[in-house]
């Protein structure tokens, strides 16, 4: 019971079907809530659980739900949307959950929809997740046949149905208001906020958008209570987290651990430490749009507050390790090239700034860098920072850049004066580009 997200999952096994899910207490939370809880009571319990969003931003889930207008004056049509558009580079946690235990997501969504009294739900799934699509489509069908979806669910008078929507690509769809535009069939460009989606969302109606992992927590919270959930974390923050590690470690993979597990334990024990011949230099802790952490942070508790205090963000909790034979400048170039390509192009700082950053980094990597490029990059990081662009995409994009300038300044300098990438010549000489691929160790 201390691994509410994955306790029934056997890695590599087929998706857990309805009968198997119910045998382990599945849909008990829903029965309980519909029989004996008011919608507001569900929201309150989620607020008391102190669950924070697992999609990257870490906003309080219960508080988000509490912004939805309720009562007779509220619009009858509201929407409950699951953001299953997992596309943050280095992040592979939601896919694992959906492929193995789709019903826990469905149950979490129905509970959320009941809390805000939404008759319609959508799962916004990225198109490349074919196995998730098959698992979810079947689970929705099973839930409908069993009366957990549809009209008058379990005789409660509450109606709800879920439609599985598969996307057509683009990273920006993960931004919740861009996602709403995509669901409406438009270009996925973020919307101006306020108004926020809980008040004015999909087709102008109150809408909640929650990440997959976030929603996996809902049924366990309703079943076992907020106090139980509060106890799961190590450092005062609630619940567990699916932490992931990729890069040149011995056992790249995914593990459900108490929130606040130290970085060192995740890298050294669960991921098995660095591969022979490689030394740890740093880590991007929560997907591409978070600041680097380095050796001095190894004893950091990986919870929202501690990581923020160290100058980064927990983000998605799936980490990408930088080793001593990989060029930090090359790594940041890869990230900024990605962000420059994926910018939706709506606002000028992001549309023009990110390609500029990419060009400078590419030039540095090739040996064309100069001392004042460091200032230029720092200035760009500032100009693309919070509050200066239309949405959070560009501020996220420059997080790895600004921290790389801080921690790896010497690496940038070694590229200057026509030298180019020192790592490339080292690896060419020793042939280290031939890295054996990863195997994947999960849970």
């Amino acid at each position: 019971m201390n691994k509410p997200l994955t306790e029934h999952i056997k890695p590599g096994a087929p998706p857990i079907d309805l009968a198997a899910y119910e045998r382990t207490g599945g849909y008990e939370a829903l029965r309980q809530a519909l029989a004996s809880m008011e919608p507001g009571g569900v929201t309150s319990m989620v607020e008391e659980s102190k669950l924070r969003g697992r999609g990257g931003a870490g906003f309080s889930t219960g508080m988000k739900w509490s912004f939805v207008p309720m009562g007779d004056q509220a619009p009858r049509q509201k929407y409950f949307v699951c953001n299953a558009d997992e596309m943050e580079p280095g992040t592979f946690k939601d896919r694992f959950l959906m492929e193995h235990n789709p019903h826990q997501l469905i149950e979490g969504m129905i509970l959320g929809a009941y809390a805000i009294q939404a008759p319609t739900g959508y799962i916004f799934l990225r198109a490349e997740y074919h196995a998730s699509q098959t698992a979810l489509a079947r689970a929705i069908e099973e839930a409908r046949e069993a009366g957990f979806l549809g009209r008058n669910i379990l005789g409660s008078g509450f109606d709800h149905d879920i439609h599985l929507h598969t996307s057509a690509g683009r990273y920006i769809c993960g931004e919740e208001t861009a996602l709403l535009n995509a669901l409406e069939g438009r270009r996925a460009i973020p919307r101006a906020k306020p108004p926020f989606p809980p008040v004015v969302g999909l087709w102008g109606k109150p809408t909640i958008v929650n990440n997959v992992e976030t929603l996996y927590n809902i049924a366990p919270i309703i079943r076992h209570g907020a106090d139980w959930f509060n106890q799961l974390g190590l450092t005062g923050e609630s619940g567990t987290k699916l932490y992931g590690v990729s890069g040149r470690v011995n056992r790249p993979g995914l593990w459900e651990l108490p929130l606040g597990t130290p970085l060192r334990e995740i890298i050294e024990e669960h991921a098995g430490g660095m591969r022979d011949g490689y030394r740890f230099r740093g880590v991007i802790p929560g997907g591409a749009s978070t600041d680097f952490l380095v050796e001095e942070h190894l004893d950091l508790a990986m919870d929202f507050a501690s990581v923020q205090k160290a100058g980064s963000r927990l983000g998605t909790g799936t980490m990408i390790v930088l080793d001593d034979r990989t060029c930090p400048v090359g790594m940041v170039l890869n990230l900024e090239r990605f962000f420059a390509r994926e910018s939706c192009g709506w606002c000028t700082p992001c549309r023009d700034g990110l390609p500029w950053v990419e060009k400078i980094l590419d030039d540095v990597e090739r040996g064309g860098g100069r001392e004042d490029d460091l200032d230029l990059l720092a200035q760009q990081a500032k100009h693309l920072g919070p509050g200066r662009t239309f949405c959070a995409f560009a501020p996220g994009a420059v997080e790895p850049l600004q921290s790389a300038l801080k921690y790896f300044e010497e690496d940038f300098r070694r590229h200057f004066n026509g030298n180019g990438c020192p790592y490339r010549s080292e690896s060419a000489a020793s042939g280290t580009r031939q890295v054996p691929p990863g195997n994947g160790h999960r849970i």
Binding site: T91, A168, M331, N439
Partner: protein, 154 residues
């Protein structure tokens, strides 16, 4: 004109959305599924069906990377070029693919067998480097493994 089959598939989605225009992306995916890609005629067919202008539909079609506005090969290779794959030697896999196929990223082989495209992180980071061909995810790529996979594609 949309075929009856295309029309049926698009209409099957109608009850799930309050407005017809919400089906724009879905409709483009349907015609692409049947025709291989979205040419100008397909675009106009979708526009007519949804009471939209071709320009409106094109603004949507050109935004999404999984809608193809150019002819693609029988096998579209989506190679992950995101950070975990890069750290694990994804650049080398990319060079190998380009060399093997004799094309650059974004191009199609002359025999129409392969198109090579980049894709954001496929969520397979612990088994990197990775690529997707059709509905199949290929993990832990090495040059040798890539050659075997390509050989098995029609």
């Amino acid at each position: 004109m949309l075929t009856d089959q295309e029309r049926r598939e698009i209409e099957a989605e109608l009850p799930h959305y309050p407005r017809k225009q919400a089906l724009c992306i879905e409709a483009l995916k349907v015609v692409q599924h049947h025709r291989g890609w979205v040419d100008d005629e397909a675009l106009c067919d979708v526009a007519e069906f949804l009471d939209m202008t071709p320009h409106e539909v094109d603004s949507v079609a050109t935004f999404y990377n999984l809608i193809y506005r150019r002819r693609v090969g029988r096998n579209v290779i989506h190679l992950c070029d995101s950070i975990s794959c890069w750290v694990m030697g994804g650049d080398g896999i990319c060079e190998h693919l380009k060399g093997n196929l004799g094309i650059e990223m974004g191009e199609t082989t002359e025999d129409g067998r392969f198109t090579l495209l980049p894709i954001p992180c496929l969520g397979d980071c612990d088994r990197a480097p990775s690529m997707m061909i059709g509905r199949t995810l290929h993990s832990g790529l090495t040059p040798g493994k890539v050659d075997d996979i390509l050989r098995d594609c029609k």
